[in-house]
Structures are given as structure tokens and as C-alpha cells.
């Protein structure tokens, strides 16, 4: 992403932001509330269109008009709310919006059995997760398992290249957080570019390779996690560096 600008009416939410994500790498985006993190990822995932600036994936310039365009191009997001339908079972949730079908007399019907088998396979093979039951409503699963279902939905597409995760650990306890971070590691090894938005600097330092700090709609700096400290990143977030 190069020189991204987004204005809402008179408000400039993003001002000339550059962002690079490489495959097999976890890029964390941190920043205070209202710093422009959400707007940035909404542009990246095609929900918003930038007012100015350009994006490219590989060598191809990106032109996305909707979130489904982004999914087709291999960019998907796991939202903080997970975007799960709580009353549907895990398999139905995994395929929500892109159901597998089977034609009977030329009429497409949902292929529930195959979706269930596929869901089980993806959860186990890519995430190493076995759910207690594939038949219960998703609302009865634990926070971490719901997270796994939401991630599995994104990684089911074999051509997925960029996965954006918005506050994946915000609502989780310590154990579940550790599991989720393990999932992120596993996905990274599978060669995905992962963009992680988080408020928790502990988590960010645990899994990320680089940290991109947003402040008041601008990029306050990008640091390598290995060469940085929590204090330095915190300084960038609150803008202490500039004042000092």
C-alpha cells in the first residue's frame, strides 16, 4: 500500500500511509484508539475505497470495490467480532457466504455433509484443532474455538495470501490467547502474510516480525520486533519520541 489517504467528509482518517506485508511474516499494526488502524485494514480488505493512493499484491496493482473482491484476490480478514452466526453449526459458519453445493436436477442445493467433512479437515490439518462436536451451535463453543472457526473460514481458500486479524486476542483468557498465538505461528509457517491488529503489546511482541505504529492517521514508524523494545513502541504510539 502506497500513499493511502482516506477522508470521511472533512475528516482525514488516513494521511499518506505506506504499508508492506511479506509472505511468511507477521506484521503487527498498533496504535491508540482512533489512530486509523481499522480504517487502514478496511481499505486493505476492500470494505472502504481509498480517497487516494495505490495498492499492489505481488506485481499486480490492486483494484477492489468490495470485500468479496478482496477475498477473490486472496485477502481476507478475521474480525474482532469474528463475524460468526452464532446459531449455525461450525461447518455452516466456515462456509458462510461461499457454501459448497451439489446439483440435484440442475438445481443447486447445499452439500451439508461435504461442508462438514471439509470443515473438520481444514480445522485439523491447517490449525490442529478438533472441535468437541461439529453439530452444536457455534455460540456454545469456547472463545478460542470460535476463533479457530473464524480463522478456518479465511484459510479454507487455498489461494489466500494475506490474512488480516483484528484484535484476535481481545476477548480471550490467557490459555486461549496462547492457543490463538500458536495458530498464528502455524499459519505464518504455511507462508501466509499475516497482518495482526492488536492492543496487547505482549501478544504483538510474542508473534510479530515487524511492528507498524499508527498515530493520528499517519504512520509513526515501522520497527523490527527483534530490534525493538516495548518502551520504544509505546513511545511511538503516544508520540513521546517526537516530543523528546
Amino acid at each position: 500500500m502506497r500513499g493511502i489517504v482516506k477522508r470521511f467528509g472533512g475528516v482525514t482518517a488516513l494521511d499518506d500511509v505506506d504499508l508492506d506485508a511479506w509472505s511468511g511474516e507477521v506484521l503487527a499494526i498498533v496504535g491508540d484508539n482512533g489512530a486509523g488502524k481499522s480504517t487502514l485494514i478496511k481499505i486493505l480488505t476492500g470494505v472502504y475505497q481509498p480517497s487516494a493512493g495505490s495498492m499492489s499484491l505481488g506485481d499486480q496493482p490492486l483494484q477492489m470495490n468490495s470485500h468479496s473482491d478482496a477475498i477473490d484476490l486472496g485477502i481476507d480478514a478475521v474480525y474482532q467480532t469474528l463475524a460468526l452466526a452464532d446459531h449455525l453449526d461450525p461447518a455452516a459458519n466456515m462456509f458462510l457466504g461461499s457454501e459448497l453445493t451439489r446439483r440435484v436436477l440442475g438445481v443447486p442445493f447445499l452439500d451439508n455433509r461435504r461442508m462438514r467433512a471439509e470443515a473438520e479437515r481444514v480445522l485439523l490439518e491447517r490449525l490442529g484443532v478438533t472441535l468437541r462436536s461439529m453439530d452444536v451451535a457455534t455460540e456454545s463453543l469456547s472463545g478460542g474455538q470460535r476463533q479457530a472457526v473464524a480463522i478456518a473460514r479465511a484459510v479454507y481458500h487455498d489461494d489466500l495470501r494475506v490474512l488480516v486479524m483484528d484484535e484476535p486476542t481481545a476477548a480471550l483468557g490467557p490459555q486461549e490467547t496462547a492457543r490463538t498465538l500458536k495458530l498464528i505461528e502455524a499459519l505464518k509457517e504455511q507462508g501466509l502474510a499475516i497482518i495482526l491488529i492488536s492492543h496487547s503489546l505482549d501478544d504483538v511482541f510474542a508473534v510479530s516480525d515487524r511492528i507498524h505504529v499508527m498515530r493520528r492517521g499517519r504512520c509513526a514508524g515501522t520497527v523490527k520486533t527483534a530490534d525493538s523494545t516495548v518502551a520504544e513502541v509505546l513511545g511511538l504510539i503516544v508520540g513521546a519520541e517526537a516530543a523528546a
Binding site: 463475524a83 452466526a85 449455525l88 458462510l96 457454501e99 442445493f109 451439508n112 484443532v129 468437541r132 453439530d135
Partner: protein
Amino acid sequence: MSSESPTVKERLDPYLAIIGPMIMILAILLFMGVMEPARYFRVSNFSIIFIEAALYLPMAMAMTFVITQRGIDLSIGSIAALSAILMAYLLKIYGIPVWAAVGFAVLTGALLGFVNGMVITRFKVPDLIGTLAMDLVYRGFALVLAKGLVLARFPDELKMIGRGEIPGFLPVPVIIGISTMFVGYVLLTRTWFGRYSIAIGSNPESAEMSGIAVDRYRVYAYVLMGAMAGLAGVMLTGKLNAIQATSAPYFNLHVIAAVVVGGTSLFGGRASMLGSFAGVLLLSMMINALVTLRIEFFWQSVASGVVIILSVAFYTWVQKKDRDGSGGLVAGLRTPDNIKLFKLAAWLVALIGVLLAFGFLFAGGRVASG
């Protein structure tokens, strides 16, 4: 992660919707078995029950989708009446064939449902107000068209749809009702429409973010609802061999009641086609039981209301996650909040009593009314 087997409650969960109405149906059967076995348990009586229920089945099927999406449609009675009256005019004045007239009625219903959907999704009028207003509009059109006329005496084919019977098999309306239910079941469990209806009702924002065209699927549900209301109008006309502008006044409430009794949640996301079927059957059996017991017609309304409250309360109770229940019902009723409410109720009853006492003290002679 742990992989113990699902608990009993989780196993029962999918069947929960059917349990409530089934228990009540059994209760009615038992009660009638004691009170009036001879007149209730007759083939002819069950045929009456089923024909009565059949009228509501198509609408209950469609209403299941509407309610599952967190919607509501109060205009179905008027849609049924208006489509049926238009059909009646086509039949009587222009003499078009019955199959064309029936198709016309169903499609008219679908069009009216489409208008409902547009009002709700495009004009952003909340469904409760939107369909309430459209109910007035459609009823008004029906009255404008038919004035006070009762249109009656229709061709035999139409009567066949409303009350005919395939000899040695089932009555025609029952076949229509059950097949629409079956189609509804397939729609709900095997198609995008059903899957997305649940997703939309479960969490509209999630559905939107999953790339579901939420508004479009909501319009689909209202179109289906309208079409089924049109079909019900045809069936009603055939059954009574007559139609007038004020026909089918309480279709909306009866159908919503049946669907809710069947375990489909008004808060969306929880759908049960089988439950809706059982709900329609339950209401018909109950009304029939009241008739068989020679209880005054007006009590039906009381009974329907009580059944609805009981079943919704039952589902809420069963689905409640955290039920520590220390002390049980009595302790629950004795919370400070409830004591205040009981005091309010006691005050209201006392004031009514005082008012009546004064009223009788100063009462004059009887006055003939009217």
C-alpha cells in the same frame, strides 16, 4: 483441544423446538381422551382439524423464514384477502380459467410481499410499522374493490383446492399444506436462502461481513411470505366458497403465534420448520377441542394467548444458560424488584375494587343499551 462427547442438552438441542408443542399436543390428546373421547377421537374430527390447519401451513412455512431473519409480517391477512378478491373478480367477471386465476392470486401475493420488502429494506421503515401500515393499505384496497360484497359460488376446481379430497387419500388442502412445509424444510436446510436467513437473524452484521446480500434475502423472505399468503387466500376462498374484503382478519397473529409456539425465536437465528408444523397443528387442535367441549367461541382468543405466553416462557427457560436456581420459584418471586411489582398490582386491584364499590353505591336503575 478437548474432545469429550456432547452433553445430553446439546444432543437434545436440535429437537427442542418440537418438544414444546409435542408436549402440549399430548396434553390436549390426554385431556380430550378423558373429557370427550367419543366426539374428539373420530376420523371426521381429525379431518376437520387437519383441513383447518392446512390453511395456515403455507403461511407458517414462510413466516418461519421471516421471523428467523428477525422480521415480522403483519400484513398477510390483507394480502390473502386482496389477492383472493382480485382472483374472484377475474373468475367471475372475466371467466378466466381457474389455474390461471390461482396462479394470478399467488403471484399477486408475491408482488405485494415484494412491496413490503421494498418498504422495509429500501425505505428503512421498521418491519413492524411497515407491514402494519401495508396491512391497512392492502385491506383498504380490498374494501375499495369489493365494497361490502360477498363474492361467492366459485367453480368446482377452486372448491377442490379449499375442501376437496382425493378419494382414499388425503384432503387436497392438507396435501398442499404438507407439501409447502416439505418445500420449506428443504429451503431451510439445503439452500442458500435458508442458510442465509438463519445467518441474518443470528447476526446481521456478521452476515453482511460474510458477503451475504442481507437486504436481498430479506426481500426474498417477504416475497415468499406474500406468495404463501396469496395461496392461503385461494385456499380460504375455496374452503368457504366465498370471499369478502374483511376475510382473514387474524391470519397474521394466528400464524405468528403458531411459528413462535413451534420454537422459532422472535429474536432471530433459531428456526424450526417441524416446530412450525407442530405449532399450527397445536393451535388447530386446541381450537377444535374448545369447540368440541362446547366452550363459548370467545374463549378461543383467551386460550390462544395463554398458549403463546406459556410456550415462549418455556423456550426462554429452557434456553437460559445460567440457571443456578437456588431457592426455586418462590425465592425468585421474592426479590425486592418483584415485591415492588406485586405491590403495584395489589394497588391496582384495590383501586379497581374501590372504584367499583363507589360505582355500585351510587348506581341508578338499569338502562337498556342500543
